[in-house]
Subunit: 352 residues, 2 copies
């Protein structure tokens, strides 16, 4: 029996239910800008060890919750845990970003990909979720997450990060059916993975489509949105007697918000390049919006930061369905004191 939730603002706002104030959490809130995170990391040695050790993942997930009055915790993990469980040999080299030893380069490589059993190959994630829920003791809800099939696929095919996405685009133009086979497989694996997180205690889930924005509108529909839709359709809708809201975030997808909403997700992540006024106008009521302060605003002097946060709050308007967040992850060089200013500003904002 899990403890009752003391603060369910996030879950209500994600379902467009009225809330007395706007909930706030920050993408990558458990991260290097926190000295306590850096201390844990120094102890753990490397990033992947942190992800794969439930005790450590739990510890860093809770660090921002203990420090700031945030309205949600998000599982400390990485979108590449799933392909890691598909035997591609993930490595995080210092300053280099992720690398796969065995990237996906051929139809035969796709044939060989297993669909991981989350209870086995990703047991460390499931265990982390359960542990975090226990340690949170109902303070705030816990968000689980995964990468979008397209975004995870880019890393698997490119073998790591990329600037031009030449390899996966080549595959798209030369052998689109093979790419569809890969993405379909990733969609199925992602459904299993997220549903395992939900079963273990995730109270909301988010899909990060970090690289959907490098596609043409037609490619986005065919190679990213379609599989986001498959994942959303496969998600467990209720757990512990409550709806489990889902959030879809395509970075650089500001022009496509209406199409993303049409797949039936509960909430849309919005990056800082779109005004929430325009976003709300594009999607109408009924779908929540999450965002979208420019992450660099956290470098601003406190009074400027407050003003920028208020602009974002105002831009959504007084209707329900807004979860305050950054438009992208918080960067390592941010002063934690500024985060306190931001949280304070959002919590103190009087609705409409």
């Amino acid at each position: 029996m899990k403890p009752a939730l003391k603060n369910d603002l996030l879950l209500r706002a994600l379902l467009c239910e009225p809330t007395p104030r706007r909930p706030i959490w920050l993408m990558r809130q458990a991260g290097r800008y926190l000295p306590e995170y850096r201390a844990t990391r120094a102890r753990a040695g490397d990033f992947l060890t942190m992800c794969t050790t439930p005790q450590i993942a739990c510890e860093v997930t809770l660090q921002p919750i203990d420090r700031f009055a945030l309205d949600a915790a998000i599982l400390f993990s990485d979108i590449l845990t799933l392909p890691h469980a598909m035997n591609l040999g993930l490595q995080f080299e210092a300053g280099e970003g992720p690398r796969f030893e065995r990237p996906v380069r051929s139809a035969a490589d796709i044939d060989r990909l297993p669909i991981p059993d989350p209870g086995r190959e990703l047991k460390y994630v499931v265990d982390a979720v359960a542990l975090i829920r226990r340690e949170l003791a109902g303070r705030v809800p816990l968000i689980g997450f995964a990468g979008s099939p397209w975004t995870v696929g880019t890393y698997m095919v490119e073998g790591g990060g990329s600037k031009t996405f030449g390899r996966i685009k080549r595959l798209m133009y030369e052998a689109p059916r093979e790419l569809h086979r890969l993405l379909g497989l990733l969609a199925r694996a992602t459904v299993l993975y997220l549903n395992a997180q939900i079963e273990a205690g995730a109270q909301a889930v988010m899909l990060f489509d970090t690289w959907g924005g490098v596609l043409t509108p037609a490619q986005y529909e065919e190679f990213s949105l379609r599989y986001l839709g498959e994942v959303v359709a496969g998600l467990t809708r209720e757990a512990e007697g409550r709806r489990v809201p889902n959030i879809v975030f395509t970075k650089g997808g500001g022009a496509w918000l209406d199409r993303i909403a049409a797949i039936g997700c509960d909430a849309l992540g919005v990056d800082w390049t779109t005004d929430l006024r325009d976003a709300r106008r594009a999607v109408g009521a009924g779908v929540a919006l999450q965002g979208n302060l420019d992450p660099s605003a956290l470098f601003a002097p406190p009074e400027v930061l407050r003003a920028e946060a208020l602009k974002v709050l105002d831009s959504h308007g007084p209707g329900p369905g807004h979860v305050f967040n950054l438009g992208h992850g918080i960067t390592p060089d941010v002063d934690p004191e500024r985060v306190a200013v931001l949280v304070d500003t959002v919590r103190g904002y009087a609705p409409g």
Copy 2:
């Protein structure tokens, strides 16, 4: 007396005048994908020497014109020649991208910045333009270019390329007046620079706002678009008895095309993430659109490449005012044979 222009399709299309077929040129068409370019570069030693030696800049500018039936030449140069002329100590390190030895980090640094006299500090560019015009002998028009004040400013403040633009965003939030001072100075310098290119023989000019898309809509208006407007307003409008069209290209600016058009530019560059149908709808008639094939489509098999090019041509519709181009620069790993297929497809496209 300069030779008469034998092919003025580009100039007419940029002014929305009817043309018997769509003109085509490609961003970065003089580049590493061409073996003759790589040979010249091996001889010259480094990129900056190529830019600063008019004979070499002329040679590589003409290479794609000699090889393909393109409708325009574009000056071989770099958007960082202007800050290079402002004594920041530009270096191109192999595989590292550009670096400034003396980046702009304080108000005092901005005070020290000279506005270069293009006839002196940028004489190599002016000389290259004149030489290219002579060597082109009227085959196709020559496009001059510069970076946008915002984009050039990012390199000057960051000291090179950046992923998060933390330094210039910090300046924006902490000392917006200083940033405005820098951008105003860059706008004035850019006007002088482009007008010198026009005087030397550039028949159209393009402003590359490569990093405008990292801004919020409000920041884009205040820190990029405003200065693009100042530059456009200062440009020489006629030379050799003809209008000199200008093109403004904000990468990632698909949502702001109507606002960019409102500064009074002749043509808008459009990257591949916006459908030209939507772009045309957003801006109405009267402003030309340049773009926007996904550069990765050049990896596609010839029949797929043809189909993708036709989709772009169709997407603009039959009205005047479309210059075919990629949505971003051509990448080094493209097979030149594919470029021939693309040029052939666009030239053979029947209007209406």
